[in-house]
Amino acid sequence: MSKFTKILILLVFVSCLIFIGLSAEVVTIKYAHWNALSEAYNYVKAFEKKYPNIKVEFTLIPEAEYSQKLNTMAMTGTAPDVLCLWECDISRFAKAGLIDPLDEYVKGSKEFTLDDFIPAVRNLIKLQGKLYGLPWCFATEIMYYNRDMFDKAKVPYPTEKWTWKDFENAVKKLTVVKDGKVEQWGCDALGFQGLWYSLIGTFGDEIVNEKGQFAIGKGAKEFLQWWYDLTNKYKVVAAPQVTTSGIITADLFVAGKSAIAFNGSWMTSVYKDIKNFRWDIAPIPKGKRQYSTLHTGFFAIYSKSKVKDAAWEFIEFCMSEEGQKLINKAGNNPSARVSILKKGYYRVRGPMGPVHWDAIDKTAQFAQWGYVLLPPGLTFDIVKDFNAVILGQLSIDEALKRTVEKAKDILGEEAVVVE
């Protein structure tokens, strides 16, 4: 055997060893989400760059089918290694043993501690006993207003101190009627389903109490009567429009036909494209208490995953400042970590607004998970009845009776409290 042949064989052998070694080191984790990855703020790509030994296989699941798809995948044992679970699913998955507690992982983390999270996250841990998921970011429900319309009507801008009385006075002044037809509404109808629960919450109902029970009653009754009057008696709030899965196709606020609208904070990423009027945001007005609903998805580790350490490394990166910055900027959603929230990475504003981003930060201090912990089918069905009340098709008492009956039927007698 010539010297050249020996060297060649040795080189091939070493190359094979390196190749085998490298192949063995690269771990692939599966990860699914309802949001497409942003080109500019791709946190998955950033993670892969930082951890070249871990590859992330990303699956995009449409939002409307997200929950059912994850449930089906879990049922068939094909769930991704890292799940981003909705609030209504996390308890069910935890009870079924489909996700692992993260307490030990978090204890060993150098990136963050649990003290850094907004109060609602710590409360959820209390409710569930252990930490099963970390919020990838959060969103809440707030009030949007058209500054130009407020200026024209000489109505002072809303502040965090606004009460429902202030709101009522304002919408009466902001409504413009011409030839017997409303040209400009004081406030748009409630489109997104969660708003009903947030507004009812300000009227005193707990929505979901500390025992995890669905608690509704007097507050809902009082709110529905008042909202009915604003819509039908005073005609200062637009009549309900059809909403399917929480999507509303005709937005009066964007169309410049309504001075105020309630919506999720995520709409700042949509409204930032408004170019024809100045707009801003404020917390939902106070009633008997300040209340709003929090929304998020929780990073969790699938209990049957074979790459749990790599899955945790991905979650830890996403929860780090580097990961959170990208996630926050991608969807205008703030971080649930207070230290990062303060830095305001999520504040990607448009040319006409918003200005008072602190409305979201302040809302985060009092907002609760509320209705999002309940099955979406139940809460959405109830909203259909609430809409029927505002349209004068169903009495308030009948709607509330149906609400309680349906809730008891789905959740069980013991899981419902009539306030």
Binding site: N71, T249, K257, G377
Partner: protein, 294 residues
């Protein structure tokens, strides 16, 4: 050799049989079994006997309301869509210049994805921003109806929108080809006897295409019962209240929104039985009005 001959045909149909068992027969049997259980998808099913059916049919249950909406929707959507498809097919059989262009336009709406179509109609029918109410305002109606939220109007709006579905377009094509097969001599003979257009339609056209009409009637009914979900879910989601909540939509909500898979399967079993009963009745009645020979 003889034995080999008898096996070969079965081998040919084997792929279909396997497909049927795996994707149709199996799921049907599994659905029936699950209808006797309580199952939330992620924990093992619990056998609860007839509880799902008892809950469904108890007095005051919302299922009765949903059943009523389903029956009303099915009857009228079938009548409207078949009448529309037949009317369009008759127009396409007129000797007019550029009939193929008309044919394209009539069928175009049927090939637009239903989800896109429903969102467009949500906008068109919107109370504040919709074009229909805008047109009404031009003729003096200041306060146009809230088309998709008025409990007296919405079911009829949904029924009328069935004419834009793919299925109605498909029926139009089937009617179109059936009408072209009706012997021309019959019309010529009727004309000599002095029959007018209406008489020709009822005495010749309808009896001649009655087998096709019957086929469309049965398939439209089953389609309406089973797949009304695809139209109603994105359009109204069953609201306001339960005014447009049909069984197929309720099955989806129970299975995937409230994770009551057992109850949803029980509803699916009832829907299956309903479709079978309606089909049997239609077949029985067909003997009185369907002519298989011209």
């Amino acid at each position: 050799m003889k034995e080999k001959k008898s096996i070969v045909p079965y081998i040919y149909v084997l792929p279909w049989i396997i497909g049927f068992i795996l994707f149709t027969g199996g799921p049907i049997i599994f659905t029936i079994i699950l209808s006797f259980t309580k199952w939330d998808l992620i924990t093992p099913p619990i056998w609860i006997g007839l509880s799902n059916f008892v809950r469904m049919f108890k007095i005051g249950s919302e299922f009765w309301e949903i059943l009523k909406v389903t029956i009303i929707f099915t009857i009228f959507s079938v009548i409207i869509s078949i009448t529309w498809a037949l009317f369009m097919a008759l127009l396409l059989n007129q000797k007019v210049y550029g009939v193929t262009i008309f044919s394209f336009f009539y069928f175009a709406s049927a090939v637009v994805p239903l989800i896109a179509l429903t969102f467009v109609f949500q906008l068109i029918l919107n109370k504040e921003l919709g074009i229909i109410n805008y047109i009404l305002s031009l003729i003096g109606i200041k306060e146009g109806p809230n088309w998709l939220m008025d409990k007296n109007l919405v079911i009829w709006v949904v029924i009328i929108l069935c004419i834009y579905t793919y299925f109605t377009g498909q029926m139009m094509l089937i009617f179109d080809s059936a009408l072209k097969e009706v012997p021309k001599e019959l019309y010529e003979a009727a004309e000599i006897d002095g029959a007018n257009s209406i008489e020709k339609f009822f005495k010749i056209t309808l009896p001649a295409i009655s087998p096709i009409l019957f086929f469309n009637l049965v398939t439209a009914t089953i389609n309406s019962l089973n797949t009304s979900f695809t139209l109603i879910y994105p359009l109204t989601a069953g609201g306001p209240g339960r005014v447009t909540q049909v069984i197929s939509l309720d099955i989806y909500n129970n299975a995937f929104k409230t994770f009551r898979m057992g109850y949803a399967c029980a509803e699916a079993v009832i829907l299956f039985i309903l479709a079978v009963i309606v089909s049997i009745v239609q077949f029985r009645l067909s003997k009185r009005w369907v002519y298989y020979e011209v």
